[in-house]
Symmetry: C2
Subunit: 318 residues, 2 copies
């Protein structure tokens, strides 16, 4: 497989600045159907949604793979927000395409097609200047690839991971190895039960912390999220959204908000994680207001600040 | 049907003090099964769970009906917390009995039997000294009975109502009349959709406010609750519970916490509703820690205060 790094594109000199935050994940295109509308191919993939959010806070380096059909020009808005795309390999073949349809209440979705294309052969290779990140995020890719990335970096200050059901089912043993090396596991509520067999989320989170990560953030979609550490629980509400357009990528963007914020903290403390969750809730709320990355794409940081100020008033007891 | 009011019992004189808060609902016995244990007959019914909670804050008068088999002596703990039981009619026949089994995750339950007994002929009749309450709560009884009670009282400062799916299905028209006369509707998340057809809870809540009540509190169980008024949304988390024993009655107790707190406020404002929701979350958390009313039965107000102080630290961004 012949690989061309997009760093060959003229915009960057050869001596690139090291990004604070590196994400390894999918770079895809999605075709989305909701009760209200359908899209053509829109930008998708965990690494794109993550970078879209994290870039409001810090410098981000993206590691992924696309086919020669990928509309790289559509990623220019990310470059404009200090996202380094030189870790995206461009190879001969088709890009990852996912097509899906949401139920009217957005609580479930049906996959119409998944064409992995070049993503099926993804071998993440970090550019030299990505190898000492302050924070590393391993999105929900195959656990053996997550392990491989961990072996390419100097120990970051924070290693955060995500996964999804498939990997828990087919590569549980490898995933447990990744979990052991993670500081923060960002998971969905149902994954807590799949991994621990525990019905109670708070007990399940405590059980997961014994399996490796000192910190857990459990995402519950529209019901918010909570942070579990050895010092207890912190609960974050979801910002109320009146008009959900498309939830695709909101979980990845939420992770991007958390880790983007933490990457610019002098000390990555539990207090800062709680603050990060507030920003991530705001980001998640913008995200579901548009298809694919659109809900956040054309936002300014001042938009986020305004909603964050309102967010605090939503739950602080007067 | 010959009715004996329990006020005939020797504990009370004939000139009774008017309770601040009156609740009309079921007084029952439950047999409960969970993955961990089964009970014999325990105290149940919306009015009992409500009064159990509300009596931490204010004087409560209960209106209900029991058969001559009902263990009234088991309600003595409520009298000890200033609950006036003189509105409970005791009639010849069997008391309301419900038996049910929860799924291991407590997200669903199966009814094994419902024996309405004397509750099938319930005709709420408010004792004279109940007829000018500051706050009235109509638990989930038949809508025409709710309307009947509204016609027995001088306009309270706050009329709050609850309902359940059966009444929305079989007596929708009457329920909509009740809704028109309510200030506050305390409903479950799924009821918002059943009543409005709206998938988005926040939009649904706004739609329900147009049907009568100026205020709505939408209960989401373990996911907390939110308050919807013309001035916007307030979100309340659920206090995290590690060991759920039995969720029976927690929704009624939550309502009791809200309205008990509001009954002792000089002005029943939106700010006070937000504060009430904090107390109600704490009450809900105690409630699920025991079978039937036991989670709250032997608690002191100082237990509630201690957990409330912790509760605020759970979600206030540091």
């Amino acid at each position: 497989m012949k690989t061309t790094h997009t760093s060959a594109r003229p915009k960057r000199s050869r001596t690139l600045a090291a990004p604070n935050l590196v994400v390894v994940g999918s770079v895809a295109q999605d075709i989305l159907h909701t009760a209200a509308a359908s899209t053509g191919k829109v930008l998708g993939g965990s690494a794109i949604h993550f970078a879209n959010a994290a870039s409001f806070f810090t410098t981000v380096g993206v590691v992924g793979v696309v086919g020669d059909d990928y509309p790289l020009d559509q990623l220019e808005f990310l470059r404009g927000r200090n996202v380094d795309l030189s870790g995206i390999a461009r190879v001969k073949g088709d890009s990852f395409l996912w097509e899906g349809r949401y139920t009217p209440d957005f609580l479930d979705r049906e996959t119409i097609r998944t064409e992995l294309g070049v993503f099926a052969e993804f071998k993440p290779l970090l550019p030299e200047h990505y190898r000492k990140p302050k924070v590393l995020f391993l999105a929900a890719i195959e656990p053996r690839l997550q392990l491989d990335v961990l072996n390419q970096v100097d120990r970051p200050r924070l290693v955060a991971i995500d996964t999804f059901k498939l990997w828990i089912d087919v590569a549980r043993k490898e995933f447990l190895k990744v979990l052991k090396r993670a500081d923060l596991f960002l998971c969905n509520d149902y994954e807590v039960q799949w991994l621990t067999g525990e019905h109670n989320l708070f007990k399940g989170a405590a059980a997961l912390r014994k399996m490796g990560p000192k910190w857990l953030i459990v995402k519950k979609g529209e019901h918010g999220s909570f942070f579990s550490s050895g010092n207890g629980i912190f609960i974050s509400c979801a910002y109320p959204v009146m008009h959900v357009v498309d939830p695709t990528g909101a979980g990845d963007a939420y992770a991007g908000g958390i880790l983007g914020y933490l990457s610019r903290c002098r000390v990555i403390s539990e207090k800062e994680v709680c603050r990060a969750m507030g920003w991530a809730s705001v980001i998640g709320s913008f995200y579901v207001e548009g298809f694919g990355p659109d809900g956040l794409k054309n936002r300014q940081f001042s938009d986020l600040e305004k909603r964050y100020a309102h967010f605090q008033r939503l739950f602080e007891i007067p």
